[in-house]
C-alpha cells in the first residue's frame, strides 16, 4: 500500500480520528452555548486534510479556510491551543483574536486561515514565490472549496503560480455545496480539476474520502513541485457531514445523497482497510480511539480552564 510504513498509516488514522472527535466535541460545546460566534465543522472531510498534510514535510506550508480546524490538526497543531482559540481564550493560537476561522501556527508552516473565500489562493502562490526566490525545496498546499473556484482569485492566483512554475499544490475540497448553493447551479462542468487545463497545469480528480488516494495524489504533486515543475490542481470529491455553519441544518441536501455519502465515511473506510490488511487489530483501533478521545478531553479541559485575554489586549498586535 504505497509503501507506507505501519507507523505512518497508524499516524494517519490517528489524525483522522483526532479531527473527527475534535469537531464533534466543538459541536457539543457549541450546543452548550460555550462557543462564541460561529463554527464551520470539518466532519466528513478528514481524509483530505490528513491525506494532503501526511504527504508534506514539517517545513512545508499550508494555507487554510474558514473550515480550517482539520487542516490545522493534520499539519500538527496542538489541539489544546486550537480549542482554546475557538473558545476565545488567551492561550489560543491567536490569543483569542482570530477564533475558529483564523487559526494559524507559523511554527509548523500553517500560514493561517482566511475567511474570505478564495483569498488564500494568491497568498499560497506568494509563499510559493518566496520559496522559489529563497531557493529552498519546500512546497505549499493551498486548501479551498468548490465555492472558491468561482472567485477571481482562483484564476489570478493559479495562473500566476503556473506561469512562474511555483511549488504550490492547489487542493480543491469539493463538498458539492457553497453554503447552500449546489455546484451544478454555479458551474457547467462537473470536475473543477478540468479548469487546470486553462492554466497549462495538471488537474487531478481524486476520491476525497479515500485518504490514501489523496496522499498519493499529493505526493506526486509535491514531487513535481519540488523538482521545479510547477503547481498541480487536485480536486478532492468529498462531503461535509454537517451543515455549512452552526445555523445550518442543511435541508437543501436530499436525504438519499446524505445517506450515500455517510456510507462513504472516510474514517470508517480507512479503518476497514487497515483491519482488512492486518495493519491494525480491532483492539488496537479501539485503543487509538480511546487515546484520542482522552487527548480531546484534555484539550477541552485546558481551553475551559484558560483565562480570557484582558480586554485591553484588543489594542495590541495591530502593528509590528
Amino acid at each position: 500500500m504505497l509503501n507506507l510504513s505501519k507507523e505512518k498509516l497508524v499516524e494517519m488514522y490517528r489524525l483522522m480520528v483526532k479531527i473527527r472527535l475534535f469537531e464533534e466535541k466543538v459541536f457539543e460545546l457549541y450546543a452548550q452555548n460555550l462557543v462564541p460566534g460561529t463554527i464551520h465543522l470539518y466532519t466528513g472531510q478528514e481524509a483530505v486534510a490528513v491525506g494532503v498534510c501526511s504527504a508534506l514535510r514539517k517545513d512545508d506550508y499550508i494555507t487554510s479556510t474558514h473550515r480550517g480546524h482539520g487542516h490545522c490538526i493534520a499539519k500538527g497543531a496542538d489541539v489544546k491551543r486550537v480549542m482554546a482559540e475557538i473558545l476565545g481564550k488567551k492561550t489560543g493560537y491567536c490569543k483569542g483574536k482570530g477564533g475558529s476561522m483564523h487559526i494559524a501556527d507559523f511554527s509548523i508552516g500553517m500560514l493561517g486561515a482566511t475567511a474570505v473565500v478564495g483569498a488564500g489562493i494568491p497568498i499560497a502562490a506568494g509563499a510559493g514565490l518566496s520559496i522559489k526566490l529563497r531557493g529552498t525545496d519546500q512546497v505549499v498546499a493551498c486548501f479551498f472549496g468548490d465555492g472558491a473556484s468561482n472567485q477571481g482569485t482562483f484564476h489570478e492566483g493559479i495562473n500566476m503560480a503556473a506561469i512562474w512554475s511555483l511549488p504550490v499544490i492547489f487542493v480543491c475540497e469539493n463538498n458539492l455545496y457553497a453554503m447552500g448553493t449546489r455546484q451544478s447551479m454555479v458551474m457547467r462542468i462537473e470536475n473543477i480539476a478540468d479548469r487546470a487545463a486553462a492554466y497549462g497545469i495538471p488537474g487531478v480528480v481524486v476520491d476525497g474520502n479515500d485518504v490514501l488516494a489523496v496522499y498519493e495524489a499529493t505526493s506526486k504533486a509535491a514531487e513535481r513541485a519540488r523538482k521545479g515543475e510547477g503547481p498541480t490542481l487536485i480536486e478532492c470529491k468529498t462531503y461535509r457531514h454537517r451543515g455549512h455553519s452552526r445555523v445550518d441544518p442543511a435541508k437543501y441536501r436530499p436525504r438519499e445523497e446524505v445517506e450515500a455519502w455517510l456510507a462513504k465515511d472516510p474514517i470508517k473506510r480507512f479503518r476497514e482497510k487497515l483491519l482488512g490488511l492486518n495493519v491494525l487489530t480491532e483492539a488496537e483501533i479501539q485503543q487509538i480511539d480511546r487515546e484520542v478521545a482522552a487527548e480531546i478531553e484534555e484539550a477541552v479541559r485546558y481551553a475551559m480552564e484558560s483565562p480570557y485575554p484582558a480586554p485591553e489586549e484588543a489594542l495590541e498586535d495591530v502593528y509590528a
Partner: protein, 324 residues
C-alpha cells in the same frame, strides 16, 4: 547638494535597498526590462537585479498583492507596484482584509513587511479611472501605514523606511511629482514614519497639506507673504501614523488652520486632520478651520472640468484669507 527628481529618488531607494537586502524584490505590471514601469520608476532595475527580483506580472492586481502578502509572511520583503492608485480597488480584499489584518487575526505571530507603491492624483487629463487620490481609504484600515511623500528627499527616505519596516505600507506617490527636482544627499538616510516636516515656517496661519498640494501651499504662502500674511506649511509625510503633535503645536502657535488635500472632502484626509485639531486644540483656534479639498465628484476628463475640481493655489489663498 545634488538635485535629482522624485522618480530618481524612488529608484535610488529601490536600488540601494535591493543591494542591501537580498529578500527585497519588486513585482508589478510592466515594471521590468521591457517597459521600466508606467512612470519609469523601476527603469534599469531589471538589468541590474534580473527578472526574478524585478518581476513583471499578469494584469491581476488582486494576485499581485496576494502574492506579495504570501511572500511577506514567509521571509521576503516585496515591493509591489499598482500602476495607478485607482486600481488598488481591484486588490482591496488583499490589502484591507489580508495584508492589514493577518498579524492581528493571528495574534501577532507574523509580520507583513510589504510595500505597495502606487501613483495617485490628477492634473494629466486621464479621467476618472486614473486620477483619484484615495489615501483616506487606507487611513481607515488599521494595520496599514500610509506614506505621502511630497519631495524627492522625503520620497527616498520614506521608501527606505517602508522597505526596512515590518508593516504593510501604502506608499502614495503623485504623478505630477515624478519629474519634480529637489536636493537629495548621496549618503544613506531614512526618514521615520510619523514625523511631519514643517516645509515653511510662519506665524499667522497653519496650512497642512500633502503630496502635490504641499507645493501649491508653498506657492500660496509665498504670495500671501507679500501681502503680509505669514503661513506655516506642515507636511505630515505619513498619514498613518500621523504626527498629530507637530500639527497641533503649529496650530497652537498660529491659532488658525487650513487643511489642503487632493482627495474629495467627505470623510477625507482633511476631515480627519480637522477633527483631530478640533478635538485636541480647539481652545487655541481663533477662527474656524477651513478645508480645501475636491468636491465630491469623480475626476472629470476635459481640462477645464478637471482644473475646476482639483484645488489650486487660489483656493488655498482664498481659504487662508477667510480666516487670517
Amino acid at each position: 547638494m545634488r538635485r535629482i527628481t522624485y522618480r530618481e529618488a524612488l529608484r535610488e531607494a529601490l536600488r540601494e535597498e535591493m543591494r542591501r537586502d537580498p529578500t527585497v524584490f519588486l513585482l508589478g505590471e510592466d515594471i521590468g526590462r521591457y517597459w521600466g514601469g508606467a512612470f519609469k520608476v523601476t527603469e534599469g532595475l531589471a538589468e541590474e537585479f534580473g527578472d526574478e527580483r524585478v518581476r513583471d506580472t499578469p494584469i491581476s492586481e488582486s494576485a499581485i498583492i496576494g502574492v506579495a502578502v504570501g511572500a511577506a509572511i514567509t521571509g521576503m520583503r516585496p515591493v509591489a507596484e499598482i500602476m495607478f492608485g485607482d486600481l488598488t480597488a481591484l486588490a482591496m480584499d488583499q490589502i484591507a482584509n489580508q495584508a492589514a489584518k493577518l498579524r492581528y487575526m493571528f495574534g501577532g505571530q507574523v509580520k507583513v513587511p510589504l510595500v505597495i507603491r502606487t501613483p495617485f492624483g490628477g492634473g494629466v487629463n486621464i479621467a476618472a479611472h486614473h486620477s483619484q487620490c484615495l489615501e483616506a481609504w487606507f487611513m481607515h484600515v488599521p494595520g496599514l501605514y500610509v506614506a505621502v511623500p511630497s519631495t524627492p528627499y522625503d520620497a527616498k527616505g520614506l521608501l527606505k523606511s517602508a522597505i526596512r519596516g515590518n508593516n504593510p505600507v501604502i506608499f502614495c506617490e503623485h504623478k505630477l511629482l515624478y519629474p519634480f527636482e529637489g536636493e537629495v544627499p548621496e549618503e544613506d538616510y531614512t526618514i521615520p514614519f510619523g514625523v511631519a516636516d514643517v516645509k515653511r515656517e510662519g506665524e499667522d496661519v497653519t496650512v497642512v497639506a500633502t503630496l502635490y498640494m504641499v507645493h501649491k501651499a508653498l506657492k500660496a504662502a509665498e504670495t500671501l507673504a507679500k501681502e503680509g500674511i505669514s503661513v506655516e506649511v506642515v507636511d505630515p509625510r505619513t498619514l498613518t501614523p500621523l504626527d498629530k503633535k507637530t500639527i497641533v503645536n503649529s496650530v497652537k502657535k498660529t491659532g488658525r488652520l487650513v487643511v489642503v488635500s487632493e482627495d474629495c472632502k467627505t470623510a477625507g484626509v482633511t476631515a480627519e486632520i480637522a477633527a483631530i485639531v478640533a478635538e485636541e486644540a480647539i481652545d487655541y483656534l481663533d477662527a474656524p478651520i477651513r478645508r480645501v479639498a475636491e468636491p465630491d465628484t469623480p475626476i472629470p476628463f476635459s481640462p477645464p472640468l478637471e482644473q475646476y475640481v482639483i484645488p489650486d493655489e487660489k483656493a488655498i489663498i482664498r481659504a487662508v484669507k477667510e480666516i487670517a
